[in-house]
Amino acid sequence: MKYGVNEQGYYGDFGGAYIPEMLYPNVEELRQQYQTILNDDSFKAEFNQLLKDYVGRPSPLYHAKRYSEKYGANIFLKREDLNHTGSHKINNAIGQILLAERLGKKRIIAETGAGQHGVATATVCALKGIECVVYMGEIDIQRQAPNVARMKMLGAKVVPATSGSKTLKDATNEAMRDWINNPVDTHYIIGSVVGPYPYPEMVAQFQSIISLETKKQLLEQTGRELPDYVLACVGGGSNAMGMFYHFLDDEGVKLIAVEAAGKGVESGHSAATTFLGKEGVLHGSRTILMQTEDGQVVEPYSISAGLDYPGIGPQHAHLYKIKRAEYVSITDEESLQAGLLLSQTEGIIPAIESAHAFAYLEKMQFKKDDNVVICLSGRGDKDLDTYIKYFGY
């Protein structure tokens, strides 16, 4: 694949494995084994069966008629919100729990921002009867209470991260520390296409089911396998990478990644990484990240806990730099309005993360026969409080 990873774990200038020696054996074990395990027939059979019978895949590709009329194009929604646990995160969690099992690991750790990845990880750990510890920023624990309760009910231990901004970045630091202290029996299920190689590639492969299905479904529904536009929201970027994956080499397909501008790109309260960031190293890979001149990581902000991450996955950084994908941003307010519009136009309440992608439709111009696919990465139940407060219901 032209836009894929090389043998050293780099996507162009980005990627690699910038990890302390304490993590080297864990990451090296993964690097050496993940591809073999993923290609093993028994792994593939179990993965595909669980995706079908447990997750409910394939997720529908829904032709949104009223949206299509409104925007003057054929708009399709890839319904990851209909997956078990309510988002695309379950695809990766299933893949990694099967991998961990085959690596002989007895304990799982994870980090979570909005809680969707934490819930997905707690779910698969319950499914497999494996101990699960989820690190979550203290602030996120407060703003995502329903997901915290879900994780606990599923049997996971939720540990608050109390350092720094007390959000996803800090939860990631704590999870990495846990992994350093428990190198032998523990597998770290990273929830996005970030972290040291091979994580970005492995997570992208588990999420690539999204674009694989989309191609097939588009062909069935339109007679054309390739859409004109593909849109997805980007925090770390796992749903976007899964949505882009099988379209990367189809140069005619325009890929649009939507970041969180928060209160405005220049407001000082934003998570628009490609606008505000520059090249650097965070959480194990060389990527684009928001930082001071001195290389200290800047705390991001978004109303969506799933998008306020100061970096993006290294493959995204590469796609941005070489202009294969376009990176844009949407404010809190625009995303909430888009969430309301989708609710009242199509009867679907989206996660605020996904609503960012929908909001960008307002800024696009289409030809009548354009086929547009948007990844509806998660459902909005977890964000109801935020919607309620904003709209005053």
Partner: protein, 256 residues
């Protein structure tokens, strides 16, 4: 030959290194602390340049880094401060920190400035061997800076040999696979690990760090290696009393 090599050529046993975070507890005290540590009998020093996301460190060093950043410490400020260093301190100085601040400063500029102000080596835990060898080794060599690698109980023999071949001062042997600030627990398994590494007859001296917090753990570490590094417990000490400079002599006596 830099100061580290001179030290290891002349002193083979019971070396003591102390770590502290630049800018903690106050800005512009790095040289004062270094001078006091030298007088108190430290053989070489590690000066941490703070980073917002220090994943290899425990809460003590992380908190000191956060305070240092709030105090205004940056690499630029640190290098300005260290211009005074060699007028007052003669023992080897190592900078310890994470890769991103170094990359943002510019690796060549970092090495050049570090060498100019009298720094002898660098420890960057998240700079992988592959990147060092392929991207930075020649630059480090050009300015006579040593890059010091970490080894853990999980590091394979093959990798330790590779690290030995890329090292030119000492190898930093972690007492356990953990973040900083833990307690050294010398179980049989750990003893086996020390003995295993010692028996490899490496060309570089071995210094043990992580979990060295008192005389007993220091002595134990010195049985298996050329010396030991004290970090978190000293950082805790610095944060515990306003007259920390005056008490450094007594602190070092509790270790050595």
């Amino acid at each position: 030959m830099n100061r580290l090599n001179q030290l290891f050529n002349t002193k083979k046993q019971d070396l003591l290194s102390i770590y502290f975070t630049a800018g903690y507890p106050a800005l512009n005290t790095t040289v004062d602390i270094a001078e006091a540590l030298e007088k108190a009998g430290a053989d070489f020093l590690e000066v941490g340049f703070p980073y917002s996301d220090p994943v290899a460190d425990g809460p003590t060093i992380q908190n000191s880094s956060q305070t240092a950043l709030e105090n205004g410490m940056t690499l630029k400020v640190l290098f300005e401060e260290l211009k005074e260093l060699r007028k007052r301190v003669s023992i080897p100085i190592i900078l310890m920190g994470y890769v991103n601040p170094m990359v943002q400063y510019g690796v060549e500029r970092f090495c050049q400035t570090a060498a100019e102000v009298g720094v002898d080596g660098v420890i960057v835990p998240d700079l992988p061997m592959y990147e060092y060898e392929n991207m930075y080794k020649d630059t480090f060599a050009k300015y006579g800076l040593s890059n010091i690698f970490l080894v853990t109980p999980q590091t394979s023999e093959e990798r330790i040999r590779k690290i030995d071949s890329l090292s030119n001062s000492f190898i930093y042997l972690l007492s356990s696979s953990s973040i900083t600030g833990g307690n050294l627990n010398v179980s049989n398994q750990i003893e086996d690990y020390y003995k295993r590494v010692k028996a490899m007859d490496l060309k570089n001296p071995l210094i043990i760090g992580f979990g060295i917090s008192n005389n007993a753990t220091y002595k134990k570490a010195c049985q298996y290696a050329n010396g030991a590094i004290v970090g978190s417990v000293f950082v805790k000490y610095l944060g515990s009393r306003p007259d920390y400079l005056q008490g450094i002599g007594d602190f070092v006596k509790t270790i050595k």
